[in-house]
Symmetry: C2
Subunit: 221 residues, 2 copies
């Protein structure tokens, strides 16, 4: 599903240049659940954003289900994301002027799903993360963990085959975090969902099938 070779990502220029990813190789197979771990600032979000076609590498190759996406333009990247991916951002990126259910309906709208079906699917996605009582709240009327769960619901509502999640349980208490993992487990069994998740949580990393450690921009395990 994911094949990455010699990935390099550099920010800035001249004396301000920072090489964040220093030649990364990654393989993720269909239906795998992979945890990406590493210290703060090691490059995990940067790597996940490139995998999620939200950013481009400075150099290197990236094949997503055999498609050579590393050098796609913005329009093509958006197209890949809509067709194939769900993404949970480290800082959620919800629209502040829309309710929880409106935020979750948005990807379905981009996919051309009719409004009645959008509403039903979004409501169901929110119920699965225990937010049925918060559907009409806007982000500033939600707790940190509730916002995170809206972001999770939004990432799954289009039924993607690949979920990319940046610290998806970071704002959740232990019980709520476990129930999110159970949801992903269930989708994995029912639909063969492939998951790459960044996590600091040792228990979440242990739950995954495999762990990849990133240290100072390089894979160390």
């Amino acid at each position: 599903v994911i094949k990455i070779r010699d990935l390099i990502k550099t920010y800035g220029e001249g004396t301000a240049e920072v090489q964040v990813l220093k030649g990364v190789d990654i393989d993720v197979g269909r239906h795998e659940i992979v945890a990406l771990c590493g210290p703060s600032g090691s490059g995990k979000s940067t790597l996940l954003n490139i995998i999620g076609c939200l950013d481009k590498p400075s150099s290197g190759t990236y094949l997503l289900e055999g498609e050579d996406v590393a050098n796609y333009d913005r329009g093509a990247q958006a197209n890949v994301r809509l067709r194939k991916l769900g993404f949970v951002f480290q800082s959620f990126h919800l629209l502040s002027d829309q309710t929880a259910i409106e935020n979750v309906m948005l990807p379905l709208q981009y996919a051309g799903v009719p409004v009645k079906e959008r509403q039903g699917r979004a409501a169901e996605a929110l119920a699965r993360v225990e937010l049925q009582d918060r559907m009409d709240h806007r982000p500033n009327q939600l707790s940190g963990g509730q916002k995170q769960r809206v972001a999770i619901a939004r990432s799954l509502v289009t039924e993607p085959s690949l979920l990319l999640a940046d610290e998806p349980t970071g704002a959740l208490d232990s019980r709520t975090g476990k129930s999110v993992l159970q949801l992903l487990e269930q989708l994995h069994e029912e639909r063969g969902l492939t998951v790459v998740m960044v996590t600091h949580d040792v228990e979440v990393a242990a739950w995954a099938h495999r762990r990849i450690a990133l240290l100072d921009g390089k894979i160390s395990a």
Copy 2:
């Protein structure tokens, strides 16, 4: 230091009314390190915001170092925060158009500290959270855990006697999180810092002197 009785916080009206805090009593003594724990949505951030004079209760009393702050107006609240508190927000609230060091200098500017001293103290605060190499980066050039550490540095730069922190290690890996706790431990020993921190992390809660559990808007332990 903190004396709270019968605290109630309600949002919304009529059928949309949500009673988030349902009569909370809390005492925090000088130099105590208290962890506030509870499920997602239980009211922890709401309670911490009231303690931090960022919000007002719907009813109940709150004495901060003997000062009756529950019904202060916005100007008086801002004054209390500047004089007494450091606050680490769950979503950091950094200024996106300012660098890390400028963000950390800001509270000192409000406190009337001269610019050379502001720069020195802000640089030192950032060094203590291991961000000496990221001082001139703006928030969108920082990782999640780096932003969190900037927020921590900013909360401590005015040398407050009371630190209120909403999930201050939530975005940090285990080692970086421990070094933040060591910093707080050190400030506690050197200056008698009092700390109330919301946390989902069992190890952070264990490190505190005492734990308060919030369940559905009420203290349960």
